[in-house]
């Protein structure tokens, strides 16, 4: 039993070490290092020795001393086996091994005798592996997007694996793609249009949604139940089935290629979610506060303006941010309604750029960085509000 759990521990821990070292190797390859072999078997075997010596040493020496010395020995071994690698790469290997051995802290020969230890070991390392895996899979495309925007098409065609940045170049050289898309492709204008459309959508949506949500949450009227249940159904209906009729009607009314046209479509498609999110919050405000307002002789306008809005600012903020992100990221309607470069939004402009096969990829990626960075910044900064918004408005993209 003990031998079985020890063997399992060695195999799983070593497998995990092999995975993170392979990711490190792949990332280093993308910095221009010339590795052509992952040497999985080799790392796996020395990883087993590392884990084995870790549990064998046990508590005989101080933990910190133990992990530093073990990682050091491991790195030297590794260096001998991969002689051509530069020192920063080996230093990275050392840090990874340090992290790995630190994670092994709770395992000793004694602890491997506990109940369910095989499942616990498996779960522990699957968790670690999962986190590394998810972080890598998610961040890698964003990393490639960013570094591609600093490279040139020719350099990438010569060596598609060299994403190292040459910091000896001047800043204007390094940021050349960004200068080009602003000067040649007019991205300044598109940023303005996208911002105007998104902010405009937020304002108009709130203007329409706050009163409606208040009525649904508080007032009694015929058709209220029908309304509140149809909200849910309406936002199940997809944009793609609206496109053809809207396109024909907008063509006849001359609303295509106009920011106004986009604004009303975006407002109408985000309104159901906004009303749904807001009415839920309004219902949680104690009715007594409003009654006090009615006593003071406030009409509904005064109640909404002076009582409801100040009390529900967090909910309004999350609706506003959520609607902003939907409008900023929206693509389908901007593809259908805008065909003059004068009225492009950022998303549409990038799609237009990609339509020309001659466009170098670094421009495309620089444009992508420009459209992505504002949303990610807003998201990171206001994550708390947005997460509650996302969960409430779950049904809508």
């Amino acid at each position: 039993m003990k031998f079985k759990s020890l063997a399992l521990f060695l195999v799983i821990s070593s497998f995990f070490l092999t995975c993170i070292l392979s990711i490190w190797k792949v990332m280093s390859t993308l910095q221009g290092l010339n590795f052509t072999n992952l040497n999985i078997a080799q790392i796996f075997i020395i990883g087993i020795f590392l884990s084995l010596s870790f549990v064998l040493i046990g508590n005989k020496i101080n933990h910190l001393m133990k992990i530093i010395s073990l990682s050091f020995i491991f790195s030297i071994f590794y260096f001998y086996l991969n002689e051509t690698s530069p020192y920063w790469y080996i230093f990275g290997v050392f840090l990874i091994t340090l992290f790995f051995t630190n994670k092994l802290k709770k395992y000793t020969m004694q602890s491997l005798k506990e109940d369910f230890i095989t499942e616990k070991v498996t779960f522990d390392f699957i968790t670690l592996f999962g986190i590394v895996f998810f972080a890598f899979v998610i961040l890698f495309p964003f990393y490639i997007m960013l570094v591609t925007s600093f490279k040139t098409q020719i350099a990438l065609l010569v060596n598609p694996l060299d994403f190292s940045l040459d910091f000896s170049k001047s800043l204007t050289e390094l940021f050349k793609s960004y200068f080009v898309i602003f000067e040649t492709y007019n991205f300044g204008r598109y940023i303005l249009i996208s911002s105007a459309v998104s902010i405009g959508t937020v304002i108009i949506t709130l203007l329409f949604a706050i009163p409606a949500a208040y009525a649904v949450a508080r007032l009694n009227f015929f058709g209220k139940n029908f309304l509140s249940s149809s909200i849910l159904i309406i936002y199940m209906f997809p944009a793609i089935v609206l496109v053809i009729p809207l396109y024909t009607v907008f063509s006849q009314f001359g609303l295509r290629n106009s920011i106004f046209g986009l604004l009303i479509v975006y407002t109408a498609t985000t309104l159901p979610v906004a009303i749904y999110m807001l009415q839920g919050y309004f219902k949680s405000i104690p009715k007594e506060i409003e009654d006090a307002g009615i006593m003071d002789g406030q009409n509904w306008f005064g109640i909404i303006l002076k009582i409801i809005i100040p009390l529900s600012l967090p909910a309004i903020a999350s609706v506003a941010l959520y609607v902003f992100m939907i409008a900023w990221n929206e693509f389908l309607f901007s593809l259908m309604f805008l065909d003059s470069p004068k009225s492009f939004t950022l998303s549409r402009a990038i799609q237009y750029l990609s339509g020309d096969a001659e466009t170098p990829r670094q421009y495309l990626m620089a444009g992508s960085v420009i459209v992505t960075v504002p949303v990610l910044l807003i998201f990171v900064y206001f994550e708390k509000y947005l997460v509650s918004g996302l969960t409430a408005g779950s049904v809508k993209e």
Binding site: T29, K120, T127, G130, I131, F134, I138, L139, P141, F142, P160, L161, F163, F208, P211, A212, Y214, A215, L219, N220, F221, K224, I233, I234, F237, P238, I240, V241, L242, V243, I244, P245, Y247, V249, S251, Q252, A268, T269, L271, P272, I275, W300, W328, N329, F331, L332, L335, S347, Q351, R361, L364, S368, V371, T372, V375, L376, F379, V387, L390, S394
Partner: protein
């Protein structure tokens, strides 16, 4: 007193709700019904403009001293399929000018020419000539004549409002459009995209729900693909997967995993050989499904995580006392607690994946066997320019959606209220 108060309340409520309801009705509900109308019409993209009479004015000098000019109006019907009725042209001229060869259809009175052309059939074209002279024999200012624009008017039917209907669009949708394959592709994409996103969502939520360092950062990072703009993400993946100089293929070739790059987004089938069984995998479709999972598992993750965090810790403590293994704890405590949210997520994601357009459009444009129903709406309506056909496909989508929703509310509608 109380009656008037409740009346007032009703009136207020309608005043508050009406603007939002009207807007949503005009932009969301009206088009769904308009689709039904359009889908029964034989109408193409070029027909949607209301036909109008157009004229281009050309001025030529024909006498030596410039006192006589020839004015040519290039007249045409802008529509290729519809006639315009009682077309009238009106143009103004300066003082002291009179026409020499006035057409019978026209009248020249007080510096104005008014012509009545009657009906113009579709594609109608005419070069209408008019020779004018100055009564005093002086030179006519050519630019002045040119600068006046003729005014045309005429009556034409809005091609969208005519009442000739046809069933051809639906016949074409079902018989000439590879309908079965279209439907199968849509269902593959929807089903595997949904299931994959939920499985990865459960895994990620289970991971983040452990006591690990940097848990809040991890939650933020996991949501990046969901909040990022689809255009940027789709093009980044297209670059990563590019067969010629894409990073992924270059890496796989570099580490000898592959001998030659594979075109993950451009190859319809790949032959796989597993345990001696050979089968064909829909390669491009699979890649698109993986992109879809990558982009939408964060949403499933967020919901399941919220549910996991609401499970009372005492349940797990009790299980520990009973000596339950981690797998037993997951199966007997965690899983029953998240089945309700998973069934809701499944339906929501199923419907949304079913309607997904942008992701597939940006990655493959619907080529290499990734043509789904929403892509087909776009292709029929805008690439082939057959608006009626596009609408008919939209109607098929709406009908399928309505049946999904009926199933949803029958099966798990009650559960949704409990959560």
């Amino acid at each position: 007193m109380s009656i008037s108060l409740s009346k007032l309340e009703k009136r207020t409520a309608y005043a508050l709700v009406l603007p939002a309801v009207l807007l949503v009705f005009a932009i969301v509900l009206f088009p769904i019904f308009a689709n039904v109308w359009i889908s029964f019409k034989d109408i193409e993209l070029k027909d949607i403009r209301i036909p109008e009479p157009r004229a281009k004015k050309i001025v030529k000098t024909i006498s030596d001293n410039g006192s006589e000019l020839k004015v040519i109006y290039k007249l045409r019907n802008s529509s290729l399929i519809q006639e315009i009725r009682s077309v009238k042209l009106q143009d103004k001229f300066p003082k002291n000018i009179s026409p020499i060869n006035l057409d019978a259809r026209c009248n020249f009175k007080s510096k104005k020419i008014i012509c009545d052309f009657g009906n113009w059939e579709a594609k109608y074209r005419e070069n209408f000539e008019l020779i004018i002279k100055n009564i005093n024999g002086e030179k006519i200012d050519k630019d002045l004549i040119k600068s006046k624009k003729p005014i045309l008017s005429g009556k034409a039917d809005n091609p969208l409002l005519t009442t000739n209907f046809t069933l051809d669009n639906f016949k074409k949708v079902f018989y000439e459009n590879n309908f079965v394959e279209l439907l199968l592709t849509t269902f593959y994409f929807t089903f595997f995209g949904t299931v994959g996103a939920i499985i990865f969502g459960i895994l990620a939520a289970q991971l983040v729900n452990q006591n690990i360092q940097g848990r809040t950062y991890m939650r933020g990072i996991l949501l990046f693909p969901y909040v990022g703009p689809v255009v940027a993400l789709a093009y980044t993946w297209t670059l990563l997967l590019d067969p010629n100089s894409g990073t992924l293929n270059a890496l796989l070739v570099n580490f000898n995993v592959l001998e030659t790059p594979i075109n993950l987004l451009g190859q319809k089938y790949i032959t796989m050989n597993i345990l001696g069984f050979e089968f064909k995998l829909r390669l491009a479709l699979t890649t698109v499904i993986f992109f879809e999972i990558w982009r939408y598992f964060p949403l499933a993750f967020l919901f399941i995580l919220a549910r996991l965090q609401a499970i009372p810790q005492t349940l797990y403590e009790a299980a520990d006392v009973d000596g339950a293994s981690p797998i037993q704890k997951f199966i007997h405590i965690t899983l029953p607690q998240i089945t309700a949210i998973i069934s809701i997520l499944f339906m929501i994601r199923f419907i949304w994946n079913f309607n997904k357009f942008e992701d597939i459009f940006l990655l493959t444009g619907g080529a290499s066997g990734t043509r789904t129903l929403p892509i087909n709406v776009y292709q029929q309506g805008f690439a082939v320019s057959d608006i009626g056909m596009g609408s008919a496909v939209s109607i098929v989508i709406v009908m399928l959606l309505i049946s999904f929703m009926i199933i949803y509310f029958r099966l798990i509608g009650k559960k949704a209220n409990e959560v």
